[in-house]
């Protein structure tokens, strides 16, 4: 029982410490705003695109590139802020699928188009 508790503690510590976010922000350029958004976090008032998916790649592929397209929520097609989240589940998924499945959990805000 004592060992079980210790094991559970170690696992929970691994899970907790392996979940973290990293945010990158351009020094230049303004973020695209969304007046209809009701977010109340760091991205308040911004047009945020959130992606939470699993990408499946070929065994022969080393990595992949996710393309940011021009959309309503990303009018310029250029990134201003991007935040990715690393999770224990994501790391585990990549390990057990030998890297074929990659968990992608990102938020990004595009540059406000210049005129």
């Amino acid at each position: 029982m004592k060992h079980l508790k210790f094991f559970a503690f170690i696992i929970s510590m691994c899970v907790l410490t392996s979940c973290y976010s990293v945010r990158l922000r351009n020094v230049n350029g303004a973020p695209q705003l969304d007046p209809f958004s009701d977010r109340d976090d760091y991205y308040r008032g911004m047009a945020v695109v959130e992606l939470d998916t699993v990408i499946k790649i070929k065994l022969t592929s080393k990595d992949f590139t996710f393309l940011i397209k021009e959309t309503d929520a990303c009018e310029s097609g250029k990134i201003n802020i991007i935040e990715y989240r690393n999770t224990f589940g994501g790391v585990l998924l990549s390990v057990i699928t030998f890297g074929r499945k990659r968990k992608v959990k990102i938020k990004y805000v595009c540059e406000k188009p210049s005129n």
Binding site: R25, V27, N28, G29, A30, L33, P35, F36, D40, D41, Y42, Y43, R44, G45, E75, K112, P113, S114, N115
Partner: protein, 519 residues
Amino acid sequence: MATTKSKLLKEWNTLHKNGPFPLKLLYQTKLEGERVMPKKIDRYNDAAREIQRLIEETQDAGEGFRAYGSAWSMNNIASHKDRMHFNGSMNISMPIDETDCHQDNAYDPEDLFLFECGSTIKELSETLAENGKSLKTSGASNGQTIAGCISTGVHGAGLDVGSVQDYVVGLNLIIGPNQDDIVYIEPESRPALNDDFVEKLNARVIRDDDTFYAALVGLGGFGFIHGVVIEAEPVFLLKRYVKKIKKSVAFELANTMDFKNSSFKIPEETDIQGKGNRPYHYKVFINQYSDDPNCVVELMYKKDYQELYPDPFPVIKESLYRDLIHLFVKLTENFPNSIPLLVKSLRKTILPAVNEETTGMLKEIFWDAPYQGPAFACSFGIDHKDSEKAMNLLGKLTRDEGPIPGIFALRFVKQTKATLGFTKFPVTCMIEIDGVLWEKTRKIMSLKEYSRRMIEVLQENNIPFTIHWGKNNDWEFPGLVNHMFNDKPEKWKEQREKLLSPEMQDLFSNEFLKTIGLA
């Protein structure tokens, strides 16, 4: 064609959550794409037609209309209970050519630029930097739109520069739905653009000092500000110092603005006689809960631009845990006596690091401010000669009748010519308390009550004052605007009535203007 999205809503809030305020319909106009309409002037005029269509639609519905940009104002000045327009997507910029200038133009044409209303200070600065230019001053950050800045009198701490509205050369306003309701206003005493250029904007020209200076800080009541012509200047660097000095010395400087004969000197910033140079920017931070005889001051000196200077940006910028701020607020509401200790413990986050030295362009020094949750700010303009007296009175009030979760800072700004500009004194000291927004409890008074007490204390002690239009205060205080500006509110109203039809005065009036008796 410019397109407008709209959404039915029940309420709207500012960036810092100072509301909510009621609202029925929110518009957002987006410009036509440059692939379809390559010429900027065509896209600009196309957007003007779209705004006129929305004004007509609103008028037909018998409702009111108000434009807003970044929602940075901390009261309801930017709100309207009927219809609001988000203009942040309208950001065309155009340099002014020498051939566009008036025959009596006294500005260097290379310094003149037209910016559409929704351009933010950051966007203005970047456009100008690409042309080797800079804004003369900005607020403490860069997210406000140019139209929002001038409408509310946004200022920095430029002793000899003034506020954002003070480098505006001309205003392009949309004052109704009809063909002759697009106007370009500039002072007759200092014309900048010629009639041919104004015609390209489909506007009629008004050259009149009184109209221009009334509309300059127009509080959103002079119609839809579509474009603003500004005077920039060659790009420069600011060298920023943060020092801890005796409060008595800091206030001596505040009261006299005499940096030359002060005992405080920065060795690198003296003239050949060893006397102190006059800074571009002077700011004093006061923690009203601290007995420390010293205080932190921030000074900036203007330098010629050079290519090589140390990177002013840190690599990492940390933000506080939002939960920590929430905890701070809850402690404040339930245990107000803990506020001085909390302020002290957060001083490293609130105050700049002492002995910090940074060099950068204006746009780099006054960079992005991340959103950190609900906030308040009460800001009074007083004659700089009254700064020590006013600080002592407001500090005492905050300690005795508070405590209140915020700390004071004083900035100094050159006088404005705008009729209702709150930087009305020869050098105005903007004395401001900033902090986290709290809810009234049995143990702590409300923000409105606190604001009211600040007004009363300044009045009781015969300190003439103004209030920042975009900040929190007790705007219902009886006779407030006339007390602050004497006969100027009447002059402002007179110009508004001259420019706008009665229907449009009504359409562009909101609760804020009604509360303060200007509509």
